[in-house]
């Protein structure tokens, strides 16, 4: 975890923050900061547990936390989230219990999906967080169909489609963006450009300098956002959500972030990342930036942070211990949920 609160040139002043974020701007920033520290701590612990063989896999979101947290805080209750690979935090911020998420990460019998998916693929219907597959990009056109449903039922919800820079090359990105443009649907396309798709740098993913430019091909606005800056990210998301909600169509937001971790616990970035990537990416660390901002605004003290960390540690420790104590899913769950329960699964045994 980044340490110290060295002041940075401050892009935001207190009156400006109040004007743009509302009267409880400091509460919003504190909530975001708490989630950042929680997420960072969760990533560190889970990578460690994977190394010890206690969980099977983990895909950290280190360096990308501001985007998911801002989204979780900017959406309304009726908005739907179609996550990409690293947006589990959106579900947690919207209220999916951390303990339940841990049961998912440990693929135990209290995982709502009976441990069927790899870790980091949770489902949380209660917070309108859609179950993701591992197939990069497929969620994009689904988010668009869901948004068609909103308009059809006169529901003022917005659909958020999250995906990475790599996913912009997938056919469903094109199909989804095109359908959303043609039907003028309430979708916010959130491209988290962490500049890598496993080993492929974004310059080799696309010839355009800014992925946001792709929006022009679909007749929608596209904006490039500093995704390590929580406030900028939150404001851009809020604006695009409002635009969509008012029936003024979809937006593509490209959040530029720095992948500060390996692609996943199965990856070794030393094979492909330049030697200075770590150092460069650390300068953009969204947690460090938030700390510096809060510090400069006089909102942060070592005591407060220490107490916050103590609570986070205790929560995570308990949740991990509870998950580790829980039995794996029973064999009776294997054939469930292939079809609706009323109809027995077709089988040659019949």
């Amino acid at each position: 975890m980044s340490a110290g609160f060295a002041p940075l040139p401050l892009p935001y002043t207190a009156p400006e923050l109040e004007r743009r974020l509302g009267a409880d701007w400091s509460g919003l920033l504190w909530t975001a900061y708490r989630w950042m520290r929680t997420a960072r701590s969760l990533d560190e612990r889970m990578v460690g547990l994977q190394r010890q063989g206690r969980v099977g896999f983990y895909g950290p979101a280190t360096g990308q936390e501001a985007v998911s947290i801002a989204a979780g805080l900017a959406v309304r209750e009726n908005d739907w989230v179609f996550p990409g690979l690293r947006e589990q935090l959106v579900a947690l911020v919207r209220g999916h219990p951390l303990g339940t998420y841990l049961h998912h990460l440990f693929a135990d019998s209290l995982d709502p999906a009976s441990g069927r998916q790899m870790p980091c693929h949770p489902t949380a219907r209660e917070v309108r967080y859609v179950s993701m597959s591992s197939c990069v990009g497929t969620q994009v056109s689904q988010a668009v169909g869901c948004a068609y449903g909103f308009r059809f039922r006169s529901d003022d919800a917005v659909s958020l489609a999250f995906f990475g820079d790599g996913a912009t090359s997938v056919s469903d990105f094109h199909a989804g963006m095109n359908f959303a443009g043609v039907f003028h649907l309430p979708v916010v396309f959130c491209c988290t450009n962490n500049q890598w798709a496993i080993s492929l740098p974004v310059e080799q993913q696309s010839r355009v300098a800014e992925l946001a430019e792709k929006a022009a091909a679909y007749g929608m606005p596209g904006r490039r956002v500093d995704g390590s800056d929580f406030i900028e990210t939150y404001l851009q998301l809020s604006d695009a959500l409002e635009t969509a909600r008012q029936g003024r169509g979809p937006t593509l937001l490209e959040f530029v972030v720095y992948r500060m971790s390996p692609h996943s616990t199965s990856d070794d970035p030393s094979r492909y990342q330049p030697a200075d990537w770590r150092e460069r990416s650390a300068q953009h660390d969204p947690v460090g930036r938030m700390e510096r901002l809060l510090g400069a605004l006089g909102l942060l003290s070592q005591d407060l942070v220490r107490e916050m960390d103590r609570q986070i540690d205790a929560t995570l420790r308990d949740a991990i211990a509870a998950a580790e104590r829980t039995a794996p899913p029973g064999p009776e769950t294997l054939e469930r949920d292939v079809f609706a329960p009323a109809v027995s699964a077709p089988s040659a045994e019949g």
């Binding site: 597959s133 497929t138 988010a143 469903d172 949920d337 009323a342 045994e349």
Partner: protein, 325 residues
Amino acid sequence: MTEVTLVQAVNRALRTAMSADPEVLLLGEDIGVNGGVFRATEGLLKDFGADRVIDTPLSETGIVGAAVGMALYGLKPVAEIQFLDFIYPGFDQIVSELAKFRYRSGGQYPCHVVIRSPYGGGIKGGLYHSQSTEAYFAHTAGLKVVVPSTPADAYGLLLSSIFDPDPVIFLEPKRIYRTVTGEVPEGDQRVPIGRARTVREGTDVSVFAYGAMIPPATEACQAAEADGVSAELIDLRTLVPLDAGAVLASVEKTGRAVIVHEAARFCGYGAEIAAILAEKAFFSLKAPIHRVTGFDTPFPYALENLYLPNAARIRQAIVDTVRAG
């Protein structure tokens, strides 16, 4: 009751479902103003409006992906894929997403989309307007696969499919879209998914077929009477879930089986029927199981009549099977 063609029965079922439930909507290429290239959706745009009969851009992954999203939200989308041969850009959405949503979400996100698509040969459509690739879908857990062969079944099974809680691949035998006619009921009269239909009873051999193979199989069974063979014809109607009980009961009675499909033979749907019979009805069998199928080639344009099983080939198989033991 009125006498209609198979494609008209599809149209009527769509109309009935859309009238019964305002959240049934259709999406696909050329289905609105044009009424579909086979006219299956003729007149529906006018009666139900562009919000419910959606002309989409040309993208099968977009069509299926959007339908998945609509279904997750709770609508009942019926997607048309113009020809089964063009479904592959949407194949990922079908096998990776649609088929797996319920399972991977522990039942939190059921996803019931109907995908209708004309399939099969015999219309001079060459490689890409003729294929019969039902096995790809039957092989994927989580999808139901339905293939009607009569207007009444097209009507009743499509209604069942639209109101089923699970995803359904509804394959329409386009070769007989207009060549078979029959009566269909009025209103929401459904034919249950998962039950085979006995087309004719017989005692010497069981013939299993579906879709556009039913007319030539019927003709073959009739012709085999002249050879002194009493053939039973079973229209499987739904490939998943298979009515295994009906298949086994018939072979336990006749002791012989001929399986007919126009799809390629290798790993075709008939292989599964043959395997089930070998596993579960082995001691009832008096003769080797016989398959009458398309060839293990791409679908040919000029030689399509050679490729497709016809009444003569099916009759020969029936007679050979009965003579074999």
